[in-house]
């Protein structure tokens, strides 16, 4: 079986993991247009080449990032998300009145 190296648990069978989708930036739902939001929710890059994507190790529920070639099926790199998320993200709470439009 194909083996993926989990940054937390080491090399494991690929059947221990779940693919979690393309890594992409989320537009701000408060300020973006409907079209931008639809593009974020539905559209894909579907790149033929090296992609950056989310994966999860099922038994430990650990999410991480993978660089993989979608033509050759080679896993090039797996790494902890803290490499990308290195600053604190502030989520401002939205009041009920604002959401119930």
């Amino acid at each position: 079986m194909k083996v993926m190296t989990c940054p937390l648990n080491g090399p494991r069978n690929i059947s221990e993991f779940t693919y979690g989708g393309e890594f992409k930036q989320m537009p701000d739902p408060q300020t973006c247009s409907d079209a931008e939001w639809a593009d974020y929710v539905f559209n894909s890059e579907d790149i033929l080449g090296v992609v950056r994507e989310w994966w999860m190790h099922n038994p430990s529920s650990y999410w991480f990032l993978v660089e993989r070639h979608t033509g050759s099926d080679e896993i090039l790199r797996t790494f902890d998300p803290k490499e990308v998320f290195n600053a604190r993200v502030e989520f401002t709470a939205v009041t009920a009145k604002e959401t119930a439009r």
Binding site: M1, K2, I14, S15, T18, Y19, D34, A35, A38, D39, F42, N43, S44, D46, L48, T70, G71, S72, D73
Partner: protein
């Protein structure tokens, strides 16, 4: 008599029937360029020439005729979908399939078997009831059946596989199968007879778009001008759409299948279970075909994997235990252009005169005739979208109007 036959065989005037004329040089311009020589592209060319008198058409195929997913699918033909939009569309396709051999004067080995889907949970039974009603309402023939009826239809089926006893079945009387290659060949033969040019080993590499309108395609054999173009490239849909600058929701996943050595006939209906992620059918040659769910992650490569084959076969053997000793003869994969709602993307695109027949994922073989017919109408009318395919427009992903067929599509094709 044998002597006559010998004479005929040795005669220099032996009347060879040419199905496809030898390749010609590409012309510098065509009214319609169809990208992709699979069933869908060829059917579009055929109906354009048959119903609309348009014959200045080039079908461009990068490999060989019908060598894409048309050659790789498991040929399940059915219309028992979940939405009214879906059922109306697929039911028309099933009706068209019935007459194709006559129409082509070429045997597509259409075989009307019926398709049985198994329910192992109450939730599935509820969704089956809905599908049976929707199907009946829109002209299909589908009913719910119980264990006894299932036993009579498929005596060799194990009704108590492991932890998932069968509790009911969705019996789709219209379910059928056909020789998939023959469908492509039949369309090609008849389209070529009417003057359509089919060019194999001709890959479209770039699209020339001027002021938002397609004007030409660049191929490995030179640039060809076109009045309009249709893309029908299945697994390469998202890549080609990118060349046209079109955003799409398609993600490409491999789908694997396999076939055993031939057995004497034991299985008439097509049998499918989404809880077991598996469907099984016997071809007219006696081989048993197994198909299942897609690969677990996106990939644009037709490699196969042992782990998917093992888990699929483990389930197949639970359904038909005596197949445990069967020998596999062939196994393969195709890459499938999956959409988030398991419905296709058909119709207009943001580029003028560039028409889409994409997002056919794991379920597009059964739609080959109706796709060809509706795409031909779309092209011939210069972009008036036929009623039947209006729900499948690309714009549904920006207007939040998906046509959700996930429950009726996954693992049953």
């Amino acid at each position: 008599m044998p002597f006559n036959l010998l004479k005929y065989g040795l005669s220099s005037e032996y009347p060879v029937e040419v199905d496809l004329p030898a390749p010609k040089e590409l012309k510098s311009s065509y009214d319609v360029v169809i990208i992709g020589g699979g069933g869908h592209g060829l059917a579009t060319a055929y109906y354009l020439s048959k119903y609309h008198g348009i014959t200045n058409i080039a079908v461009l195929e990068k490999g060989y005729l019908g060598g894409g997913n048309t050659a790789r699918n498991t040929a399940v033909i059915r219309s028992n979908y979940l939405t009214s939009e879906g059922v109306r569309f697929y039911a028309e396709s099933v009706r068209m399939f019935e007459g194709l051999s006559n129409e082509f004067d070429f045997n597509i080995m259409y075989s009307h078997r019926g398709q049985l889907t198994l329910a192992h949970t109450d939730a599935t039974v509820r969704s089956f009831r809905q599908r049976a009603e929707v199907n009946k309402h829109f002209g299909g023939r589908t009913e719910m059946i119980d264990r006894q009826q299932i036993r009579e239809l498929v005596p060799s089926l194990n009704l108590d596989p492991g932890h998932l006893p069968v509790i009911a079945g969705l019996w789709h009387i219209d379910g059928a199968t056909a020789r998939h290659d023959a469908v492509a060949w039949g369309y090609a033969k008849q389209a070529a007879k009417r003057g359509v040019e089919i060019h194999q080993l001709t890959e479209v590499q770039e699209l020339v778009i001027e002021n938002g309108t397609i004007t030409a395609v660049k191929t490995n054999r030179g640039t060809i001008k076109c009045g309009c173009a249709v893309q029908a490239v299945a697994g390469m849909s998202s890549q080609l759409m990118k060349k046209a600058g079109i955003r799409s929701p398609i993600q490409t996943f491999p789908l694997q299948a396999m076939v055993t050595q031939p057995f004497k006939p034991f299985l008439d209906p097509l049998v499918s279970s989404s809880a077991l992620h598996c469907y099984v059918q016997q071809t007219s040659r006696g081989e048993v075909v197994f198909g299942g769910g897609s690969d677990p992650y996106p990939l644009l490569n037709t490699r196969s994997t042992l782990d998917l084959k093992e888990s699929l076969l483990a389930h197949a053997i639970e359904m038909f235990p005596f197949l445990a000793n069967a020998k596999l003869m062939r196994q393969w994969a195709g890459i499938t252009d999956m959409t988030p709602d398991y419905s296709p993307i058909m119709g207009l695109s943001p580029v003028n005169n560039y028409y889409l027949d994409a997002g056919w994922g794991t379920w597009g073989f059964k739609a080959t005739p109706i796709c060809g017919k509706t795409m031909a109408e779309l092209v011939a009318s210069g972009g008036k979208v036929p009623e039947l395919i209006r729900p499948f427009g690309l714009e549904r992903f920006s207007t939040f109007q998906q046509v959700n067929e996930m429950g009726a599509t996954a693992a049953s094709h």
